[in-house]
């Protein structure tokens, strides 16, 4: 038996010094059971919800549940496709700008007298185009998605202002805007949660129980190996970016209706919250690992933490500090834990 299996054909340079590839913690266990291996974050969420329900007055009520869910709906919505993108090792920072541009276009078209039934498909199409721009630049020209989407982050937000300026269009029909906020009966759970749940289940199934999901993890871990296994990496990524654009546009439409106000600066900075939720949910920024359950738990944890702290009158500054610290703790803890288990952390020098 060969014992030097850790380093056969490729010598040292293939892996960072000091890291024997064989020692990398296996994410495989994590991938089982719909990604519930990110049970830690789910556990934290459950514990937090329990504690908050008892300790924070007004936290555990139907009305507050509604408020909380409404606050995280768009974050969760955009996190769905973005999780897939990050699993493949790419990133899309332009999602919030896509929300803003969609919202601005929606406002402008509404202002011009188009019916909403026509505006919404146009907006979704627009989102697809915006996503395709990202996707084409990344997959066809081979540019790093980080730089590309920093560029389109500025570009799309700028175009949003070009389209609508500093104006706000706010006279959307009340029946629509109320629908966006309405609850299911007396449960306090917003109606939009239902289609969102459908999308969540769909995304979860796609990611964890279909051949597509398998290929996403494969290309996130090793693009080469995925290509050699017959996976069309470029095309898959391109479509992921398109889907992300469409879903972000959907988020833009919903955002506009929910606040009843189409503005170019809608959802400014939302990308950070979405990415924070995804990373908190245990998805590796380098791709290849993480699951949707963790992401949902991450988004809910951020949302309910914010909600609970607001209820006990913690100032917003502290909320920001907590959010930032949580994000760092979420990525540092596994590394430290791995080291304590006597394993070196994994860390591929791919993305800054």
């Amino acid at each position: 038996m060969a014992l030097d299996s850790a380093h056969p054909a490729t010598p040292a340079p293939a892996t960072p010094a000091g890291q024997a590839p064989a020692e990398r913690p296996s994410p495989t266990s994590r991938l089982r059971l719909l990604g519930t291996g990110d049970g830690v974050i789910t556990l934290v969420l459950v514990v937090f919800l329990l504690v908050a329900s008892f300790a924070v007055e007004g936290f555990a009520s139907t009305r507050n549940t509604g408020f909380l869910l409404l606050d995280v709906v768009v974050i969760v919505l955009i996190a769905l496709p973005l999780t897939l993108v990050i699993v493949t090792g790419e990133i899309d920072l332009s999602v919030a700008s896509t929300v803003g541009l969609t919202s601005a276009v929606m406002g402008q078209l509404w202002f011009a007298g188009l019916p909403l039934e026509a505006i919404i498909p146009i907006c979704l199409l627009l989102g697809g185009v915006l996503g395709a721009v990202n996707g084409l630049l990344v997959t066809r020209l081979g540019l790093p998605s980080l730089a590309v989407t920093i560029g389109t982050l500025a570009l799309y937000r700028g175009l949003a202002f070009v389209v609508l300026g500093d104006r706000a269009v706010a006279d959307f029909p009340r029946s629509w805007t109320t629908w966006a906020l309405s609850g299911i009966g007396a449960t306090g759970i917003p109606v939009v949660v239902v289609p969102l749940l459908v999308l969540i289940v769909l995304t979860g199934v796609v990611l964890h129980a279909t051949p597509i999901g398998r290929s996403l993890y494969a290309m996130g871990n090793s693009e080469d190996a995925a290509r050699f296994a017959g996976i069309d990496v470029g095309r898959t990524k391109l479509w992921l970016f398109v889907v992300t654009g469409v879903v972000a546009a959907l988020g833009g439409v919903y955002w506009t209706l929910r606040y009843g106000s189409a503005r170019a600066d809608n959802a400014q900075g939302l990308e950070l919250q979405v990415i924070a939720a995804i990373l908190l949910g245990g998805v590796s920024i380098f791709g290849g690992s993480g699951g949707l359950v963790g992401v949902l738990a991450g988004a809910l944890l951020l949302g309910s933490l914010r909600n609970a702290l607001q209820l006990v009158n913690v100032p917003s500054d502290v909320l920001n500090i907590v959010t930032g610290a949580l994000l760092i703790v979420a990525v540092v803890t596994p590394q430290i834990a791995a080291r304590f288990r006597g394993r070196r952390p994994r860390g591929r020098p791919r993305t800054p």
Binding site: G151, L155, N320, L327
Partner: protein, 356 residues
Amino acid sequence: MSSSTKAAAPAPVDVAPEHTGGRGAALVQRLVVVRELGILAALLLLIVATVIANPRFLSGQNLRDLLLSASILTVLAAGQTIVIVTRNVDLSVGSVLGLSAYASGTLLVNAPGTPVVLVILAGMAVGAACGLLNGAIVAIAKVPSLVVTLGTLYAFRGLDSLWASSSDRLQINAADLPTGFKSLAGARLLGVPLLFLIALAVVLLVGFYLRNYRSGRELYGIGSDPAAARLSGIPVGRRVLLAFVVNGALAGLAGVLYAARFQTLDATAGTGQELFVVAAAVVGGVAIFGGSGSVYGAALGALLLTTIGTSLPQLGLNPFWRDAAVGALILAAIALDRALSLRLARRLRGRNLRGA
């Protein structure tokens, strides 16, 4: 499929080294120059167009304003270059700037007699401390800097506003600041704003360091190939930490310059700057995945972005176009970099291919 020998005439066995000498360096040099001249050309084009639209654009006052506006972004871009070159990124610079600006303002309010140099040092120390935290987490915990600095972007800003709201001064106004400090903003040397000269000095120093010192070159090595850097015995962790600390200190310096220039300091100073800083570096030809790019390019990028901001209204364009223009510029810059590097690779490869 029988057994014949296909005697294709192979190219003569030639030894690679003989091919590759000579023009490689010249080629690279030319491409680098092309890259930086490109930004310069874009800048000149913009200025010419603006001057045609509004001849007053070249007035002394306006040029001074332009340089003044560019100086803070330039300092930040210089710092960011150091970090990006190592295949990292620091998104927290806007928040660090805010923290340092507020800190130096508070220092001046409480001790109006503090010499300007000391204020600058204090601001840089605040920034360096933030950079140390970023760098330590990145280097020791081996966590991607994008995530870490995204976190500290929130955290430092929160700290800043917490400090502002818990002190008795939410906003430090011009009237609260000593005249000596405020005169920095208007001070000129040979007609050039002092703040810009400071920024220029920073750029030259950083550029000189990155080019002429061993540790500076090692930063490029780390970004170029982190694994090779480790095998070469470069103390990667320590160098990355250093890069973050220096970047933090420069963001701190930018904070002091901000305080001097705007003289109205609250917890929102520098919000959203990170985008423009990274944009300036990328537009200036600093590769986002490290290893190449110069601080001079980044400084030119900063100047270009600032000029866009001031010339759009004068070209009769809605200032809302600015963000869009910045975004388009970033995309154009990375696409150009890609095209140039592909061309370079093809030329260099063509040179040492044998046969076939």
